[in-house]
Amino acid sequence: MGILEELAAKEIKRRDFVKLCTAVAAAFSLPAGFAQDIALATEKAMKKPPVVWLEGQDCAGCSESLLSTINPSIAELVLDTLSIRYHETIMAGSGSVAERALEDTIKEGGYVLVLEGSIPKADDRFCMVGGRNFKDIFMEAAGKAAAIIGAGSCATLGGGIPGATPSQGRGAIEFVSDRSKVINLPTCPVKPSRLVATIMYFLTAGKAPALDQYNRPTAFYGTLIHDNCPRRNHFEKSYFLTDWNDPKQKDYCLLLKGCKGPKTYADCPQVWWNEGANWCIGAGAPCAGCSQPEYYAGFTPLYAKQDTIDAGKIDIDTIGEVAVGVAAVGAVVHGAVRLVAGKDKK
């Protein structure tokens, strides 16, 4: 069965498939001609490259995000046909049969390893799968992987929400020896279009796309949300939303409500979520900063603007005000004592 018949069987038109390939080319700023290469690579990929999807300390939200897009979506099709050898949530097999599929794939090597969820750093026993440390399972799979994709905030640098727990969850990049093999795709959950585009790019080019210092593809994480925010004009004019119930403030800047846009790099303002339906700030919710390594521990509470020192959660402004207060009071008291004691004589 050729690729088009296969697509037709899933009620996907050739046109949609070409559209996806063009979108991937556009996402990475490649010339339009690359769409053809991507299509060819995908066609080849459908026969071959296995994907192993491991879940650590996760909520399966990234899998959900990917699978519950409009059905049957292009994303699902591509990942379906990529031959996902092992995926705890969606695989049909279970028990030793499933584990053997994983073992066989690892023996073969050359697969794309997708990590969802974090790996506990504090103690391996925080995450056990089938009686084994998850960390060992991951390290074994990471050894022979062609590329390791950290999907979602938990699987990338800061460990997302598990990173804020006593288990000290951290992403793949903190454990593997060859950091250049890792492609990080943070955000909570992982954005399906970014994941599919990255896998397809890897299959086409045979290497990772251009990455930034956090191993995130610059195509998706190269710009500051704040710089492209549709509410930026309200920010410049100091129109800040202070009262959720005031209809006048509906479109005001969300900075005072804890928006992390000025600290967060992602293309969310340009490429919206849920197949272009909307995105956080568009829906009136402050940016949570989920594409940043500081997320979640460093950015909580999400709905309050504050700059606290990590240890002890002390507000820097409080420290500053105390310092200034002590200095001022000290000066006044010292001056008064000198005046009374008459020490001013030279």
């Binding site: 190269g222 004019k237 100091s238 800040f240 420290i319 500053g320 010292h334």
Partner: protein
């Protein structure tokens, strides 16, 4: 006004009592730019809805005075090391001046009065080295926030723990400078008012 002879004498004596014109100009510009930077920076950090202060205006002012402050400080450093009346020794080797480390320690640790005038300022002079270092940290962290996409600065950002941490450092140092300015003003006005007049308006210090 300063003539070359006086300056030469000042240098020969290793004495910083006479404040040459470049130092006075630096002090004025530094005072104004820090005042503007601290206020606008504080507003950028903790904005509130108002019809008078506008975020865009505050940011523009901040970004203009960033350059004023940075260039001014750069020239001051150049002057300290290569200027005609270069005074880097006063700060980096404070004990070599008129001041004495022994006197200073006795004054601070044993609460003994400073018998000879202006001999106990080793710590005061050294504190300006700390201030200069903090200026550099403040300038670098400021530019990290100003050019978040700059690759070289991004490397520093990663080492220093992300942009959010850089903001915290930048903010904390602002509060430090404000506290320092209060004490600096108090001590100067109460103990060395002659020098204050000298620093600001060039009135010769008669003390």
């Amino acid at each position: 006004m300063a003539n070359a002879k006086v300056i030469a004498k000042v240098i020969a004596a290793g004495n910083s009592e006479y404040i040459v014109v470049p130092r006075r100009i630096y002090h004025w510009i530094n005072l104004i730019s820090i005042a503007v930077l601290a206020f606008t920076g504080w507003y950028i950090h903790a904005p509130f809805a108002t019809d008078v202060l506008k975020m865009g205006m505050m940011q523009s002012l901040h970004f203009i005075f960033v350059w004023v402050f940075t260039i001014n400080f750069g020239l001051r450093l150049w002057f300290a090391f290569f200027g005609k009346a270069g005074d880097w020794k006063v700060y980096l080797k404070p004990w070599e001046n008129n001041d004495s480390l022994a006197w200073t320690l006795r004054h601070y640790l044993l609460f003994q009065p400073c018998l000879e005038k202006r001999k106990c300022r080793v710590l005061q002079r050294a504190s300006y080295v700390v201030i200069a270092l903090f200026y550099i940290v403040q300038i670098v962290s400021g530019f990290q926030l100003y050019w978040p996409d700059n690759q070289t600065l991004s490397l520093i950002t990663v080492v220093s723990g992300g942009l959010a941490m850089v903001r915290k450092v930048h903010l904390l140092l602002m509060w430090f400078f404000v506290s320092f300015a209060i004490l600096h003003t108090y001590i100067a006005v109460t103990y060395e008012f002659g020098l204050v007049k000298h620093m600001f308006f060039g009135v010769p210090n008669e003390e």
